[in-house]
Subunit: 128 residues, 2 copies
């Protein structure tokens, strides 16, 4: 844990509820440590995420993907075979029911993505 990482972590502790972007973290971090650079903030955010100290809200960086499946479904990205699978809902299940939503809120769109090992592809099965 370097000084820079500590600063970035402290900033996230302080304003994390606002779900800041890297640039927003950078602005706050610069107040506490004027010499820090944006690249360092990116590095620190990556290290802290890797260490499990913070979370990245959007795990699907890269380009936006499109999908013609209009039924409710989640996307599973296999880190092993590098493919995206559609995962359907269990019959009768409601994906939003597990979440403690505030009263009066209306969901227009929901996006569920998972990352892991699919276990079904040849590559994952054989460990190739």
């Amino acid at each position: 844990m370097t000084k820079q990482r500590q600063v970035v972590f402290d900033v996230l502790e302080a304003i994390g509820h606002e779900h800041p972007t890297a640039s927003e973290v950078f602005v706050q971090a610069k107040e506490r440590m004027p010499t820090i650079s944006l690249a360092t903030v990116y590095n620190c955010l990556e290290s802290l995420t890797g260490a499990g100290a913070i979370r990245q809200v959007n795990i699907e960086r890269e380009a936006t993907r499109y999908c013609p499946n209009l039924r409710p479904h989640a996307h599973f990205y296999c880190i092993d075979c590098d493919k995206v699978f559609d995962i359907g809902l269990e019959s009768g299940a409601d994906a939003s029911a597990v979440w403690a939503l505030p009263p009066g809120c209306r969901i227009e769109e929901m996006n569920v993505s998972m990352r892991g090992v699919c276990g079904t592809c040849p590559r994952c099965g054989s460990g190739d």
Copy 2:
């Protein structure tokens, strides 16, 4: 529905299971209509998404956001007050249980985001 939109839609019907990016759609679309441009593919994907004919897998475009909350939680983006809220799990609920995951698959990370109207902020409550 213009010819270009039809082509883009057809491409998505054909290779949608691969969850293509805009560039990948562009490559396929160009085989069917060599004059089509990348900008048009973007336009068509936007129109088709707006019309509900296809879905965008990643609703969180813009910069990645970070968050120090390590407990399982979803993110709710309010389209009205433009803020992101943490939504906790209902007590005892398991977010992955509602999804029909293939046997043997292991989830390393899960990301749930919703978009809608939160109904709790002054702006949403008053319609300001």
